[in-house]
Symmetry: C2
Subunit: 399 residues, 2 copies
């Protein structure tokens, strides 16, 4: 299992891409490396790189490459995300896709051609870096696909496949063999039956199934910040993701997990982190845990939801927080601990309409999974007869 951190620049948050300061990046990433992690996830702002559909700025690509290089000097590998897109409640969408130019992000052929060109160019810009870990198509781009987004871009399930296949191929075309190509969705994909991007999209595209675990989704409201349902949420979601795999060797990457203080006492965040990482690290096939995030958002920056300000392992002025120390210890402990295989599994009836609601926090299936003291693996009803797959996943018993 790899451990890493989502890099939120201490000075200027992601607006720092407007005037990249290598010294700031070096200071931030030196601190991050000190936590004992092996990688960071880096999130450029798409409209700054592709401000016009026909313009991909070389200088902006160079800035991304510079950050990858600095990370390398700090001993860190880097995952680069492309379509941001959405970050911490703010949407960054270029003007050629907004208001008078509003076109569908997922279905307009010219738009998707331009996205593919962007993903390819971004990948090319970092493809030869020895410390490039991977490319993710974008951060939770499925947020744009449906309500509650204020101005959703409708897409069908098949359209989602077409879009993901097209952009995954765009990244692949420019990447060296072995570069991890992924896409990332927020948890409506797993929990909301109206979200066009679903579990199958997560499991069918790219080289790993990416999970973002946020207990402000109703989980911590129900269970309390340190409740069993909360500290086991990341593990649950990773196991739920793995249920859709047709290849038992496909990894699950817990690419985002954090301790939001709108639903837990700040003093409880180190304990939440410790239990969350311990639980998630048990998941068969888990390839990595990447904590959100490196640095708090400065209070000088306004309009963030309250919880977004203090998700960092470091303060905005670079001091390590108790949760940062807990993270370093949890990473060291997880690395020193051999995973104990879980042979038991429970069956999710994925053939029944509404199964995503059943999986959601407080849903019937979610409750059933939590009723086991040690989280069982999850098997889809549609795959329950595939004994070879079950065996490959280490499942010895359906309970």
């Amino acid at each position: 299992v790899r451990f890493g951190v989502n890099y939120t620049p201490a000075a200027g948050w992601f607006h720092s891409w407007l005037e990249l300061d290598p010294a700031d990046v070096r200071r931030d990433l030196t601190a991050v490396a000190g936590l004992g992690v092996d990688h960071v996830r880096v999130l450029p702002l798409w409209p700054l790189i592709q401000p016009n559909r026909g313009l991909i700025r070389r200088k902006a690509l160079q800035d991304v490459a510079t950050v990858v290089d600095i990370a390398g000097e700090c001993g860190l590998e880097v995952n680069v995300d492309a379509l941001q897109g959405h970050l911490s409640s703010f949407d960054f969408v270029p003007s050629w896709l907004e208001s008078w130019h509003r076109r569908n992000l997922f279905t307009d052929p010219e738009v998707v051609d331009a996205l593919a060109a962007y993903v390819t160019a971004l990948t090319e810009a970092v493809a030869d870096k020895p410390n490039l870990m991977g490319i993710t198509l974008g951060n939770e781009v499925n947020q744009f696909a449906a309500a509650p987004h204020p101005t959703p871009h409708p897409v069908t399930e098949e359209g989602g496949d077409w879009w993901l296949a097209r952009l995954t191929a765009a990244a692949r075309s420019a990447a060296r063999p072995g570069t991890l190509i992924t896409h990332a969705m927020y948890d409506a994909a797993w929990y909301d039956d109206t979200q066009p991007f679903g579990p199958r999209h997560a499991a069918d595209h790219g080289d790993a199934t990416v999970v973002h675990s946020w207990v402000f989704n109703g989980t911590a409201q129900k269970h309390g910040g340190l409740g069993d349902g909360s500290v086991r949420h990341a593990e649950y979601l990773c196991r739920l993701a793995a249920a859709w795999h047709t290849d038992a060797r496909r990894p699950v990457w817990l690419q985002e997990v954090g301790a939001p203080t709108n639903v837990m006492d700040p003093a409880d965040t180190p304990a939440f982190l410790e239990a969350t990482i311990r639980g998630a690290a048990r998941v068969e096939g888990l390839s990595g845990i990447t904590w959100w995030c490196s640095h708090d958002v400065s209070r000088d920056l306004l309009d963030f939801p309250a919880l977004e300000y203090d998700l960092g392992l470091f303060t905005a002025d670079g001091k390590i927080k108790p949760i940062g120390e807990a993270f370093a210890a949890a990473v060291a402990a997880a690395r020193a601990t051999a995973a104990v295989p879980v042979g038991d599994a429970i069956v999710l009836d994925d053939l029944r309409p509404g199964y995503r609601a059943a999986c959601s926090p407080g849903g019937e299936f979610n409750q059933r999974w939590l009723s086991y003291e040690t989280g069982p693996q999850i098997v889809l009803a549609s795959k329950a007869a595939d004994t070879a797959l079950l065996r490959a996943r280490g499942i010895t018993r359906i309970v």
Copy 2:
């Protein structure tokens, strides 16, 4: 009468603010100065300067100051616009005002505080430049106030006054005495009875009444590109603006006028320009004519409405166009020609609801004004008894 050009950077259009290249600016503005003009209008992109409500980027302000300095080296004064806002069909609105953070641009007190802080900071950044001509609050910000904008920000007439007064004061607070403070509206203010910002707003705020004249508003469709109604449109709109003045000395600034090739033959644009400038220069109290625009938009940049690509006096690679040569000649001719006073005026019944539609292209009042071979001045019915004002305006006869 002053003559100038709206500066559209040849390389990268306004996206060039993302990576300002002083050499590019110097090349462009040297060419512009060669036309014999005395000023340029410069339009920064607001979201690049204020990407968060609490963050006004010093470096971005310095970029604006750098452009003002380079213009000064070229012998040009500069008008700086603040809230862009809207440019050539593209909206540039910061993420803290979009989608999840959608707040009203005109009425939300925190937003308007932030706009005021931005306008003040931008003004401060250039206030001491000896070649600063003025500050405009923003380019056609009234576009955001109503339909047909796809996501309008509603505001009342009184709200419009509050907003304009607040932001005008913000600019004034940081400007040296004598700096021209203005605001700019597109012509719905004059022609569309549903547009919250109207002629009174144009005439009551700031140091001059700003007019943007675009014959693609129905005028050229009706009259043809070189028709009388088209080449006299700028003059008409300037005279219409002056009708609202309560002080005869208040200037009218024709801040934008251009030759759009969606409604005229490209070969006709020099003749259109010549007649337009000759006509507008006749307007009593006209302070300036600022042509839109300096440089064509590169065809490498996509999604502009077709007409926006070739509005330049120079091509995107810096060659002067026939219309550029016509502009230089028209400026020289206008400077050499004394204005002939127009003593006749016609009365617009501004007390009748729907008077703005009557003024619009093809409307009853517009037709009446055009029926005179030499454009008369315009007097509002509500001011027709103010003989002192009429006398100060040089009006000798109501016809």
